[in-house]
Subunit: 423 residues, 2 copies
């Protein structure tokens, strides 16, 4: 008898009908002879509504109390789901993150899982019951306070539980059919991928693909746990995220697995930075101290006559004004000339393990960009990824051009919308 962990996002359990639909799917898995553990997010807009309420009573809720508040969301969805399954004749027991043994550190709002002790889940399974577990939440090891895991939290709960229970697979149910070769809203001929490797999925997630969160993929890679990303609205096979593609699959696999794009970043250019040792370190340390994640960094060769150089980097638009303020504070100390802030950029990333053995990828890619009239402003690469920054207005046509250049287009248009999984 196999053991599967299924995770359903907020859009799959947005209302009573959604909950009943999901319950029927879970019952089917149980009927097929599986042991089933289900991780569920809060219903639809519940989390946003709770945050609204918090903002009505205080501008700055404390982390501990905000976590206490938000975890009410999964408590509601999981109890309702357990009831709906009970109504189909199967026993289901719901468990909070704490009851399921999701032990975290004490960083409220973005706690990290440090241990999983799923004794009560195992007990429920041994009793023949289906276990329903609240996603996104845990309990802190030292203070025994309720914590939340932050973005991608429910996916992380599912993968962490699946690893601890040594499940055969972790199924992540979402509102799209799987991982696509590009966002189908931009590229109507995008193909659903049968499989991607952990490495590729990490690069795609880091580059703007929203279907799976970076963190849960990292967790799955560490435990070599297969993830199956699929739609809760159909019975189609989705995308498998695995260590290596199945034997033989490589033959048909394109060099490039997928193309991610991202419009959420901005670019800051610091003009006229003195080209001295330690200056760049000083700049990026100030940014890091403010907990701002930066992405690509480019430094031009300094002009020989002035000894000055320009440094550009990208960062989330939401951190733009924060970073600008910090940089202005150290202008006197560093002695740069000016700052330019540009929030009209777009980022495109080609990802594919096949890139390692195919040196011509960059040339093909850049030629496609040139043909499409897209000007490349920044470049960054990893072993299996090439990212460029261009004008945001050019981004969609850049994605389509790259998709065609690497023969990723499918024969038929996929009638799905590519979206996020919520939390």
């Amino acid at each position: 008898m196999g053991l599967i962990v299924q995770k359903y996002g907020g859009s799959s359990v947005a209302d009573a009908d959604g909950i009943k639909r999901v319950a029927a799917r879970i019952a089917a898995a149980k009927r097929a002879g599986q042991q089933v553990v289900v991780v569920v997010s809060a219903m639809g807009d519940t989390t946003d509504n709770l945050i609204d309420l918090a903002n009505q009573v205080t501008p700055i809720p404390t982390g501990r109390e905000l976590d206490m508040l938000l975890t009410a969301g999964e408590r509601i969805s999981m109890a309702l789901l357990a009831m709906a399954i009970g109504n189909l004749g199967f026993e289901a027991r719901s468990f909070t993150g704490s009851q399921a043994g999701i032990i975290t550190d004490s960083s409220h709002g973005r706690a990290r899982v440090i241990d999983v002790t799923p004794g009560r889940i195992t007990e429920a399974l041994n009793d023949g019951a289906i276990a329903i577990v609240a996603g996104f939440q845990g309990i802190s090891q030292d203070t025994k306070d309720v914590t939340t895991l932050g973005r991608g939290g429910s996916d992380t709960t599912a993968v962490a539980l699946a690893a601890a229970l040594e499940a055969d697979v972790c199924e992540i149910y979402t509102d799209v059919d799987g991982v696509f070769s590009a966002d189908p809203r931009v590229v109507p001929t995008a193909r659903k991928l049968k499989s991607v490797t952990y490495e590729e999925m990490l690069e795609l997630a880091a580059s703007g693909a929203k279907v799976l969160h970076l963190r849960c993929v990292e967790y799955a890679r560490r435990f070599d746990l297969p993830i199956h990303v699929r739609s809760s609205f159909s019975n189609l096979e989705g995308t498998w995220v695995v260590k290596d593609r199945p034997e033989g699959a490589d033959m048909e696999q394109a060099i490039i697995s997928g193309i991610a794009h991202d419009k959420s970043e901005a670019k800051i250019t610091i003009v006229g930075v003195p080209d001295r040792t330690g200056v760049a370190a000083r700049i990026f340390q100030s940014i890091a101290d403010a907990d701002i994640n930066i992405d690509m960094i480019v430094q031009n060769v300094s002009a020989a006559d002035t000894g000055l150089t320009d440094i550009s980097f990208t960062l989330p638009k939401t951190e733009g004004s924060n970073a600008t303020t910090i940089l202005k504070k150290i202008q006197g100390e560093i002695g740069y000339l000016s700052i330019q802030y540009d929030d009209q950029i777009g980022k495109l990333s080609l990802v594919g393990a096949g890139m390692r053995s195919h040196p011509g990828v960059t040339a093909t890619f850049f030629a496609a960009m040139a043909d499409a009239g897209v000007n490349i402003e920044m470049i960054s690469t990893s072993e299996i990824r090439i990212s460029i920054v261009c004008r945001q207005a050019d981004l969609d046509s850049a994605v389509r051009a790259a998709h065609s250049a690497f023969d990723l287009d499918s024969d038929q248009i996929e009638a799905v919308v590519y979206g996020g999984t919520g939390r």
Copy 2:
């Protein structure tokens, strides 16, 4: 430094403004040098909305899952209240029933408190923080599952915590100014009582007064814990529920403390019951086996010529059809003639410890009823209570007549509405 436990019902925290108002009141108590523990119910309609959701997914939710669902309500209100207090510059920590050490049996939906281990509350108080505790909920001793305490649950949480923490007083905040000599909606001249004894309050609660639940008064009496019932919408002194009235207070105190009335009961009369030993026992055992609470019982003297008697009893209207069905099942066995069901009755109860030393109360009361043209259909008495059943249409004028007959009318009309405390 004193320690007080305050309990706020759902109507006091119905929205963000209500929560902020309650937070200000709690902060004032803290500022005055008190250690403060607050028990809070779910916001306004939250519980009803959650029950609606449950009914949308299944007609018969299991007790365990319904409790898991409903306890989300207090989780939301307590976290918001803690945040609102934090916004006023005081530290507040919220605790679930489980975290607060409210240990119960496993009867989901109507669990009984069997132990209180408030270690985390004491710790929070010692740290100088205000502790906010979810009302209405606990954790079962044997299965470690979340439970709810049923009707009057939040009041019971407050009194149980106050007893365990040896608080000076348990303040029950509600939407009325205290306990009144009668329902002001029926008797506009009803007076707010300065104090009532546990005994009197128990009789009033059992007779239909909704301001405090029987169960929490029983708990307070067992631990001799003073309860102060007062309004969260004013700063007026409310009603103290205590073991004995303060010295001297008896002098001004009327013989009768208060008059309760109840329109929620029905009367069943079993006509022509054979007057044999064991017949009444058989009848009431069948009713008790179905978990139906009956209230007053009257049996007439049997007619000498037939050896048949009539038995009447009152019970909640909601149990009427259930009880009738049970009685019809045993008609053959018992051999009674017929059943009459009457849901047009009203019950009026006079309550007062002074009754013990004033034998004329019954005469005065019955004379007042006769003058008001009220026909008395059933009578039952305790040491400090006289209850009658009359036509429901006559009940309001009966209450007013009794109120005047015992000089309970105040000089001025109280401008409040007498209502329930929610759960």
